[in-house]
Amino acid sequence: MATGQLFSRTTQALFYNYKQLPIQRMLDFDFLCGRETPSVAGIINPGAEGFQKLFFGQEEIAIPVHSTIEAACAAHPTADVFINFASFRSAAASSMAALKQPTIRVVAIIAEGVPESDTKQLIGYARSNNKVVIGPATVGGIQGGAFKIGDTAGTIDNIIHCKLYRPGSVGFVSKSGGMSNEMYNTIARVTDGIYEGIAIGGDVFPGSTLSDHVLRFNNIPQVKMMVVLGELGGRDEYSLVEALKQGKVNKPVIAWVSGTCARLFKSEVQFGHAGAKSGGEMESAQAKNQALKEAGAVVPTSYEAFEAAIKETFEKLVEEGKITSIKEVKPPQIPEDLNSAIKSGKVRAPTHIISTISDDRGEEPCYAGVPMSSIVEQGYGVGDVISLLWFKRSLPRYCTHFIEICIMLCADHGPCVSGAHNTIVTARAGKDLVSSLVSGLLTIGPRFGGAIDDAARYFKDAYNRGLTPYEFVEGMKKKGIRVPGIGHRIKRGDNRDKRVELLQRFARTNFPSVKYMEYAVQVETYTLSKANNLVLNVDGAIGSLFLDLLAGSGMFTKQEIDEIVEIGYLNGLFVLARSIGLIGHTFDQKRLKQPLYRHPWEDVLYTK
């Protein structure tokens, strides 16, 4: 360690594990300082490549994203700082990989909870290769007007308030990241501000120590005095004591070690930071403060008196002419982000999407206002979920049960119908599930499966206009339209569709009114008189019964019913139901390892 300056106005960093906010904060700081280049040269996001868009002042810039540390270092050979936002589980490995890159000089580790033995490996490697580790468990550090690590110094307002956009004369080092920000404020109040500030992190074994940085500050000519905030636990402060005693530090050091309260606790206590543990007398705050004082540091009587001690030292240096007043600059205005401006109520912006059926913003997702947990706890079924998401209301159980019966009845109709056939052919062509599913779904329309909506529309219209079955059927015939919902390929008047019977029985028992169904039955009686295969089919049964459900439940207005029929809700029921079967056919073909389907020549009529 020792030597001096770590950062400058041209320092660039590689940022490991993409986090939008800290990077944006770094770039905002850069802009505030009038830097010409952004301080983040590249981002490493394991497994991802491309670019990330971020703001540099008013302008948007694209920062390259690399999938490996090696690739990023090769692409940005001048970037010598590695800012590691990996979790505590992976921070050590990625930090070691970074230290091993010849271009990387400084590694800052944000994660809290890195195993001690791993940190020790990093310390060992950094020492033998003249590299610097800041952290783990730190917010980072800052050099006034030059470079900032991640979230250090918080908001733009705070940075401006502490005049961190230009260098001052004070070198500061502490364990605590939160307290470093507090001290930037304190120091700005009573001096010309921070030249450089480092939070070494609260771990037992920090990558670099308080004394490492004090000795480094001592070599930086612009730093005129040093402020150190230590903590009980560990012996790091004693290496500073040694350095002071040996005369290695020739600038004033104002130091305070917090944790004098530890003696209030009878047994051993682990405070907030891993390193802050009450132990032997040597490691107590009192002993360390005493030793620092004896070694020549300015040590106040309490934290409260720290500010006054800093002030007094600074003023003395000014008096001695060692510090001359610096020229103040006015930092540029950083455009406010839309999100924060909206949050604070300063601006409003129109939304681009409106949604009324579900909301995923709270503790748990809600369907039409009903939280997921009550859906599960109250034993709701798929029919209830459909009623919430499609109709935006909780329908009575007989209605949702009816919906479920419809879905079960329409789920599949064998491999030969056009939807299933298409799905089978696609699956056998080696396509994926979604392709196979949609190729089947795409056949659903006026000739296949799409009759429920039309049946409902025509039955509703005819019934509401008071047409007799004769008038209705013959009127359709005149217009050249087959009556939807009537007619079956196989079923006959004396061999009814079992599914239709089931639906009708359920409705008769449970529905308050079945007037549309009765009308459909009357129509069927008429059509059967014309031909034995003109039975009410399952589409006609669902279509007419759904009209009874909508009208009879008393939960829909007339306009709502018109709209539901118009939009085509009932077809949705068929699409949903049949998807179950089509997915089944896809899996079936794949499980059976069926080869590509080719239609046989013999089955094609080749003709001119």
């Binding site: 809290e112 060992g124 939160g178 307290m179 074994f205 209030l264 891993a274 934290y303």
Partner: protein
């Protein structure tokens, strides 16, 4: 977080299992653990040696000097051990100013021995200090100058050559055994993320190293790497720290979250209560109340970092419950403090506190609580305004200060207030 002391029983079990795996050394030690839930018949069934051998029994509670405190019984049979344990289980004792009941014992075979060696490994920032002495045992402190230490830098292997200066005084013929044992223990130390191991003493049984007494500390942060090797390792509270139900509640909450939540009850009758954000700041607020001469009135030590609103609510509830538990008509102060945050949304953090304050409206008023708030950072203006507003709503006096005020200024205000 960080370093955790483990019981002697666990230290020895881990050593025995892993010494075999890593160094192929079969350690002939046996130990059994006894707590108030132990069924002695079942124990005997599992550990047959208990009836076959003469035994030693002692408390296994992270404190030392057990021999000197008369808490070790030697050369008993199993019935005598049971009698010894039953007489002392739950009994309150005092060790170096800390009082607490004895809850856990360790039973081992009684080993008549001659040699008492001292052996310790301590993890330090740049490596490990390895210490050895021929004069181990209960009087070690009187022979501290006879302890030899070497410093082994990180990444350097422990070899016979590095060990040689430590054991130079031992008879040549046992150098090999002792060296292998020390290397084996060091391998276990590294592989299982120990941060401290001490054997005082270990001896030789039939020429084989045999630890009689052992202390261990592991790095809890390495837990994720050691889930299988550690098994269900217990981290007991330091002796004398019997957590109150409130402390246990927050301790459990802290274990389950990535946020940091700490709560220590200092004085239930205290009149100054802390609700402080940040590991560094919480220490300084507590210091300051002490520096101002009001340590005796401090109700608690609390630190929180990054809690969700729900977690903050739970922590705040606990603090308010304690702070309002003993109203005596006199004014009380609640310090809602913290440094100027780097990235915590102050407004959002305060929402949890405010919900707790609203729940405890009548208790707060009855206990005559005055609230002093100081915080800066993202969105602090909103947070402070909300705190001011809730004070007016509840009829509880609230003073708020932002980043312009010195951080610990509210300690002074609180003390003037009470």
């Amino acid at each position: 977080m960080a370093r955790k002391k483990i019981r002697e029983y666990d230290s020895k079990s881990l050593l025995k299992q892993n010494l075999k795996r890593l160094a192929n050394i079969e350690l002939p030690i046996c130990s059994a653990q006894v707590t108030k839930s132990t069924d002695f018949t079942e124990l005997l069934d599992k550990e047959k040696w208990l009836s076959a051998r003469r035994l030693v029994v002692k408390p296994d509670m992270l404190f030392g000097k057990r021999g000197k405190s008369g808490l070790v019984a030697l050369n008993l049979d199993f019935a005598e051990v049971i009698q010894f344990v039953k007489k002392r289980l739950g009994q309150e004792i005092e060790i170096e100013g800390c009082k607490g009941p004895i809850t856990t014992f360790i039973i081992e075979p009684f080993i008549p021995h001659k040699e008492e060696y001292y052996f310790a490994i301590d993890s330090e920032r740049l490596g490990c200090t390895i210490s050895f002495s021929e004069c181990g045992g209960v009087e070690i402190e009187e022979y501290w100058d006879k302890v030899n230490s070497i410093f082994l830098p990180t990444d350097s292997p422990l070899t016979n050559e590095t060990i040689a200066p430590l054991i130079a005084g031992l008879p040549l013929e046992i150098h090999g055994k002792i060296s292998d044992f020390m290397k084996g223990v060091f391998a276990v130390f590294q592989d299982l993320d120990f941060s401290f191991i001490e054997m005082n003493p270990f001896t030789l049984v039939d020429g084989e190293p045999y630890p009689l007494d052992m202390r261990g500390e592991v790095d809890e942060n390495a837990g994720f790497k050691n889930e299988e090797k550690w098994g269900n390792l217990e981290f007991p509270h330091p002796f004398g720290r019997i957590p109150s139900p409130e402390e246990s509640f927050i301790h459990d909450l802290n274990e389950k979250t990535s946020a940091s939540l700490k709560f220590t009850l200092l004085n239930p009758k205290g009149r100054i209560w802390n609700m402080i954000a940040g590991g560094g700041a919480s220490l300084i607020y507590t210091d300051t109340v002490g520096d101002l001469g009001y340590a005796a009135e401090l109700g608690n030590y609390t630190e929180y970092g990054g809690p969700s609103e729900e977690e903050m609510l739970k922590l705040a509830r606990v603090i308010l419950d304690c702070a309002t538990a003993n109203p005596d008509g006199r004014k009380r102060a609640l310090l809602v403090g913290g440094n100027i945050a780097n990235l915590t949304d102050v407004g959002a953090t305060f929402d949890g506190i405010i919900r707790a304050l609203k729940e405890k409206k009548s208790e707060l008023r009855e206990a005559n609580i005055h609230i002093y708030v100081r915080r800066g950072g993202p969105n602090y203006q909103t947070g402070l305004a909300k705190m001011q507003a809730v004070g007016e709503e509840l009829g509880v006096p609230v003073e708020v200060y932002g980043p312009e005020a010195i951080m610990t200024g509210i300690c002074n205000r609180a003390i003037e207030g009470i």
